[in-house]
Symmetry: C2
Subunit: 324 residues, 2 copies
């Protein structure tokens, strides 16, 4: 089965809830004036809706699904989309999910403001839930996401980074929002503190696994399925786990070093991607992703045993098995 | 007396409070990692601190100044600075307060992320005040600011706009945050609802007056004092109140129409600025600003008569008398 279909079948029991979240996203968009409305299309242009699914599952574990969870899930997806809009601009990425990125269609200024508006709207939705703790977690996560992106921006252009720096970056740019989505869902559902912390732990480990696999797929994935060119991280000089693993074995690789020094042509790039892919680096990276997914699954043991927990368990499996 | 000195002397009774707010801004910045810390220098690089002063005065009218007001005032200034960083990027402005703007020194991406980080940090500070109503007002104001900037972006490049569109824009990009600063200060001070609404009305009218005068100074001001080239609004094709007033009398002005059509050279620009300045348009615009300032002063009549009210009264006077 294709990974998209696997995910859809895995999330089938909460399809109606995800649709309700999407409906709220559409509704929110419909109330926005043009041209902003057209600019915010990335919000409704697909995406896997992983983060809303986490909110739904984390919440459903402790309370019936209802309007507050819909709002929380939509706000989390809006925050995620806002950061994608700005990140694509920062990374000068031309494609996202196979679509042209916003800044390739609209002026830079409009792209910045569209992202800002989504950020603002997402905070406003969270504030409407009338729980300051949620706002604090949400705002802190936003700070972490920005600081993570800035850190990553500073290491691109061929500067090597240590594994530690890589993990910090993955934690900041992906795991933090996965963790926050789960924690906020638990808080909103009135879960006890121990359970809220456990949900957060699950989200963080899942997010780490998810991002590492994303970084692997950037090497091994099919361009069409990725919706962007292969090796796009390397192309921006960004060293991710597969490259780190590869360099630990082969520090003198000419093509990879050329790419990282910024002095490369397409032949170097193809050779570098090929070198990383045919080495043990991919398997080593996936082993790390699996270890995180397993820790996510272990965290679930501390939570009530119900259908949502089962789905979260399967989700951790899906995250590391998708796409190859 | 120079306008800066006038303002300093007007705000002398709350100098210690303003310094405490600035200290909090410095402290917040000191905890930020490099290179982000250096990028956030516009936060501590001067500025008139009008918005913090509004928070301090609005709060002091009903309660003693303390840590929550310091946090609110700092958060409002951070939000303001974040929007300036992004707006200067959107407007491609090279100078702000006589200093090079961030995007002329750092890459566009870094500038976007620096603004995002300040936004996030300001929301996080407001959330720490543990009052969801404050977060809601803050987030809604942020939405309004973004929507206002987007609207303004759409009318630049020579598209005329009506007075109504101009007022909506001023309301969104300036008056909304002035109003929110006052309202939030009142709420935090435990003021009764009628007083909170009155503070908001004062802030809104003051903000309208402030922005109209800013738009006048863009024509009449000294480049050195402005810290940016004269006619910078016209240069980006932005029609503000002086141009609107001028065009109502002289629709066939060659230079102004050339500028607005985007087909202009420096001679056209100088002639257009000169034409607007030597017409009744400046006086007509200032009369409008004065009317708003007067309405702000009238609103104060509904508030307790104390030293803070007196300073807010003088502030409305200062706003329309500054700089010419």
């Amino acid at each position: 089965m294709k990974p998209e279909l696997q995910l859809i079948s895995l999330l089938e029991p909460i399809r109606s809830e995800i649709e309700q979240v999407e409906h709220l996203l559409y509704e929110t968009l419909a109330r926005v004036e043009e041209p902003l409305q057209s600019m915010l299309c990335p919000l409704t242009d697909g995406g896997k809706r992983c983060r809303p699914a986490l909110v739904i599952l984390g919440g459903r574990m402790f309370a019936p699904f209802g309007s507050p969870f819909r709002i929380l899930a939509a706000a989390v997806e809006m925050l995620h989309t806002a950061t994608l809009i700005h990140d694509d601009l920062v990374d000068k990425a031309d494609l996202r999910r196979g679509q042209k990125t916003l800044h390739t269609i609209w002026p830079v200024g409009a792209t910045v403001l569209a992202g800002d508006y989504l950020l603002a709207r997402s905070v406003s939705m969270i504030a409407g839930l009338e729980d300051c703790r949620l706002v604090k977690i949400f705002a802190e996560t936003l700070c972490t996401l920005c600081a993570g992106e800035i850190r990553e921006m500073c290491v691109t252009e061929g500067k090597h980074r240590s594994r530690e720096e890589y993990y910090l970056s993955v934690e900041a740019k992906t795991a933090s929002l996965f963790a926050a989505a789960m924690e906020m869902a638990g808080i909103l559902a009135g879960a006890e503190e121990g359970h809220v912390a456990t949900l957060g732990r699950y989200g963080r480990e899942l997010g780490m696994a998810f991002q590492i696999v994303d970084d692997v797929l950037d090497f091994t994935g099919d361009e069409e399925k990725l919706g962007k060119p292969a090796g796009s991280d390397l192309r921006q000089g960004l060293v991710t786990l597969p490259t780190l693993c590869y360099l630990e074995q082969a520090t003198d690789d000419v093509a990879v070093n050329a790419v990282l020094s910024g002095q490369w042509d397409e032949e170097h790039m193809r050779a570098a991607i090929e070198a990383v892919c045919s080495s043990g680096a991919i398997e080593a990276s996936l082993a790390e992703a699996r270890a995180h997914a397993m820790r996510a699954q272990e965290a679930l043991a501390g939570l009530p045993d119900n259908a949502s927990r089962g789905m979260l368990y399967s989700l951790a499996e899906f995250v590391v098995e998708r796409g190859y």
